[in-house]
């Protein structure tokens, strides 16, 4: 009897502990969200300073969005995200591994760590402004390239699809790789040194150790990185917005979903913006579900399942 009563007692604490989160969420996110969803079924926008609607139109907003270029922008977003994320995660893993590897004897570790995180501190919009100036046709990048003899005429970086996309990718990479490195480093350092020692005794080399011990053990943090990066990617806005002046030039090939959403918000088209938001919401939900599944339940050696069983058994 006694342990059971105690359990109910603890459950109460669970609710108490998570209450502030949910209260804040319901007030500041849920109500606005419901607002958004509600208006997604309405024709509701401002024309000048006159308000049109809200008139209920059912799924009309959703249908007309599907007929628009939304899918193209989704594609753009995905491409822009991949260009930034792939190098980001590779470099970050490499650096995190190097930083914790005592035998590499990295000099000035602290310095490097501080430096690679720095770009993340600048406002994305300010960063994009800098890039815009640096890479403009008559800008410093071109004069540097020309004086080094690498090109004989000014390169129109932002005039080509690949140029603009690469710049966006480069910026996202620079802004986030340090952040990811620090996070992964924290994760790797959280792994018990005993495990590494044991693996060394077993004759693991550093590559093996990385793929067979480090990677699997930091999977939760990797999943976290992937998920936050996907969310960040879906929400990509400031950088392409400022670099392309909100137009996604050239030919709307670097228009992201949130830029698309922003252009609806700018025109105060709550209905359309609402339904676009719902699409975004659903898509990002699905993506994250997949990633979460992939990284958490994929359990090749069964050690996790075993651990879970043990834990359950222990509690009983």
């Amino acid at each position: 009897m006694k342990p059971k009563r105690k359990k109910i007692d603890y459950a109460k604490w669970g609710y108490i502990f998570i209450f502030p989160f949910f209260a804040a969420f319901f007030i500041f996110s849920f109500i606005p969200l419901v607002d958004t969803i509600r208006y997604s079924f309405y024709e509701y926008y401002r024309s000048g300073i006159k308000e049109i609607g809200p008139n209920f139109v059912g799924m009309k907003n959703y249908v007309s969005l599907l007929q628009s270029d939304m899918l193209k922008y989704a594609g753009n977003t995905l491409i822009l995200w991949l260009i930034g994320f792939v190098p980001q995660i590779v470099i970050a893993l490499l650096l995190a591994q190097w930083f914790v590897d005592a035998r590499l004897k990295i000099h000035g570790k602290q310095f490097f760590k501080v430096v690679i995180y720095l770009p993340n501190l600048i406002m994305a919009s300010a960063f994009a402004m800098l890039f815009f100036t640096l890479f403009s046709t008559n800008g410093p990048m071109n004069s540097i390239l020309m004086s080094m003899g690498l090109t004989d005429h000014a390169i129109d970086f932002m005039g080509s699809v690949s140029g603009t996309r690469s710049l966006v990718g480069l910026m996202n990479f620079l802004m986030w790789f340090g952040n990811t490195t620090i996070m992964l480093m924290a994760a790797i350092m959280g792994i018990s040194p005993d495990i590494f020692e044991a693996s060394e005794l077993d004759g693991c080399n550093s590559t093996q150790r990385f793929f067979h011990i480090t990677l699997p053990l930091i999977r939760p943090i990797l999943a976290y990185t992937l998920i936050t990066s996907i969310i960040g990617g879906l929400q990509m806005f400031d950088v392409p917005q400022i670099l392309t002046n909100g137009q996604g030039n050239p030919d709307r090939t670097s228009m992201t979903l949130i830029m698309f959403l922003n252009s609806h918000l700018k025109s105060k088209n709550y209905g359309m913006a609402g339904s676009l938001s719902v699409y975004l919401f659903i898509v990002s939900g699905i993506l994250c579900f997949i990633v979460y599944r992939m990284t958490n339940d994929d359990d090749p050696d069964g050690s996790k399942a075993a651990a879970r069983k043990n834990r359950k058994a222990g509690r009983r």
Partner: protein
């Protein structure tokens, strides 16, 4: 168990409450906007009475604008100004009334967004929180002078008779600030006739003279300037920097508004198509600098520097002083102005009395002294270099070389050239969609100019972008 249940009940109650609150909120919102319309009307007519008696004015005048430009001019010429606080947010008048400056950046439409919110709440706002004066730019003045929206008070309701009190103003500025019925709902101190500003050294090298009259003859209309562009090209110079430079000349002379009143179809004017075709032709012919894409970017700024190969720019008074001058790194006196190939107007800030103001008398006084008083406006021209909005004073300035000649222009008096342009400006018919149309057509076709997309794709991109911006637009018609 019981406690658990309680917390669940609490949570669901909370959720339900918020849901209900939400529904109510949406309903009351639309109610509010309806109130503004009808309440605005009532206010508009009752303010007539207020002006007539002008007894109890509010203690606070709220002025919405996007920079210090208007404040500085009010401080300069409005005699009632006593002092302005150090941070520039409050100006105190002699009778103790305070002007509160509510400044929001124009950038990203923040200014209009905040102003629109305030206007929607105008009817229910406390007297001291009501908007009394707000400013608008030519690009979106039409949105606020709209008769149906009725947010900018007709000037006659303030006791200003545009026919007599503002008779000296340039008539196109009065038309610009009027609604479809011809009721004037705003007034401006500034008028922005544009000129052609050219480099004297390049002119001498290519044409053997930098005399404004002779250069003026070489750029007097589009056909002549095209031939001149060929001469410049032969010597390795560009006529203008970017295709966007010439846009105002075409765009401000369209015959019909982008969107006719009451319609939802955008009709692209033939003049716009001329701009597109000419720009493509000029760019391909090498008369424009291919590396300068649009305006307000660093490439464009650099094109105004001494190492640039660009012969001329098209600027109104503010453009010369605040854009060209800061970007010029050579000596003074290297530039000169002359007539443009076509008269045009670029920019201008309009002052509106806001419907529902509790300070109609003050508002009237401010508008009169900043936008209609000849001496005041001459003073603004002298001290702030604006081309101001009284015809007689500008005619004086045109001959007053002692006070108005410019060192930057090598001793030339630009007002001599501004004044005739201003008198010949025929303002294009406006619509509430101008800002978006102008911005988006330039953006959509810049890909076409640079050869990134073909003509039809650029058209399609414009259609997509414009409908995104203005959901009520149903179609875009292109001229045959």
């Amino acid at each position: 168990m019981k406690k658990k249940l309680v917390s669940i009940v609490l949570m669901t109650a909370l959720a339900a409450g918020t849901l209900a609150g939400c529904g109510g909120q949406g309903g009351s919102d639309t109610g509010d906007s309806a109130n503004v319309q009808t309440g605005g009307d009532a206010q508009g007519s009752s303010s007539d009475a207020a002006v007539a008696t002008a007894t109890d004015e509010g203690k606070v005048i709220n002025i919405y604008c996007w920079n210090n430009e208007f404040r500085e001019r009010v401080e300069l010429v409005y005699p009632e100004v006593k002092e302005t606080s150090a941070d520039g947010t409050v100006t105190t008048l002699n009778d103790g009334t305070e002007i509160h400056w509510i400044i929001n950046p124009n950038q990203d439409g923040v200014y209009q967004q905040k102003l629109d919110e305030a206007l929607l709440n105008q009817a229910s706002a406390a007297a001291d929180d009501k908007v009394d004066i707000f400013l608008s730019e030519t690009d979106y003045v039409n949105k606020y002078t709209d008769a149906e929206a009725d947010v900018a008070m007709p000037l006659k309701d303030l006791g200003i008779n545009p026919g007599t009190d503002l008779a000296d103003q340039y008539s196109f500025t009065k038309i610009t600030a009027s609604d479809v019925n011809g009721v004037q709902r705003g007034s401006t101190w500034q008028c922005c006739p544009g000129l052609l500003v050219y480099r004297r050294d390049i002119a001498k090298e290519v044409f053997g003279t930098d005399d404004p009259e002779e250069i003026g003859a070489k750029v007097k209309d589009w056909d002549t300037i095209k031939a001149t562009a060929g001469e410049l090209k032969a010597k390795g110079y560009y006529t203008f920097s970017s295709y966007a430079d010439t846009f105002r000349l075409y765009g401000n002379s369209i015959d019909a508004p982008w969107v006719a009143p009451g319609e939802t179809t955008i009709k692209v004017d033939q003049k716009i198509m001329n701009w597109i075709n000419d720009s493509k032709e000029w760019l391909d012919a090498g008369y424009l600098d291919k590396t300068v894409k649009g305006q307000w970017n660093s490439d464009w700024n650099q094109a105004m520097g001494s190492s640039s190969k660009v012969f001329a720019f098209l600027f109104p008074a503010w453009g010369i002083d605040f854009t060209l001058k800061p970007n010029w790194d050579g000596e003074d006196g290297m530039w000169a102005v002359t007539n443009p190939p076509q008269e045009y107007n670029w920019g201008g800030s309009y002052v509106h009395a806001c419907t529902g103001t509790d300070n109609p008398q003050h508002v009237k006084d401010i508008i009169m002294s900043v936008t209609a008083d000849k001496d005041n406006l001459l003073k603004i021209s002298r001290e702030k270099t604006d081309f101001t909005n009284t015809q007689s004073s500008m005619r004086e300035a045109a001959t007053d070389d002692a006070n108005f000649s410019s060192d930057f222009l090598g001793g030339q008096n630009p007002f001599k050239y501004f004044a005739p342009v201003a008198e010949n400006i025929k303002i294009a018919p406006l619509s509430a969609y101008d800002q978006g149309c102008v911005e988006l057509i330039q953006n959509s076709f810049s890909d076409y100019f640079q050869g990134m997309v073909d003509f039809d794709k650029a058209k399609a991109n414009f259609e997509t972008a414009i409908i995104e911006r203005y959901p009520e637009i149903t179609a875009v018609q292109w001229p045959q």
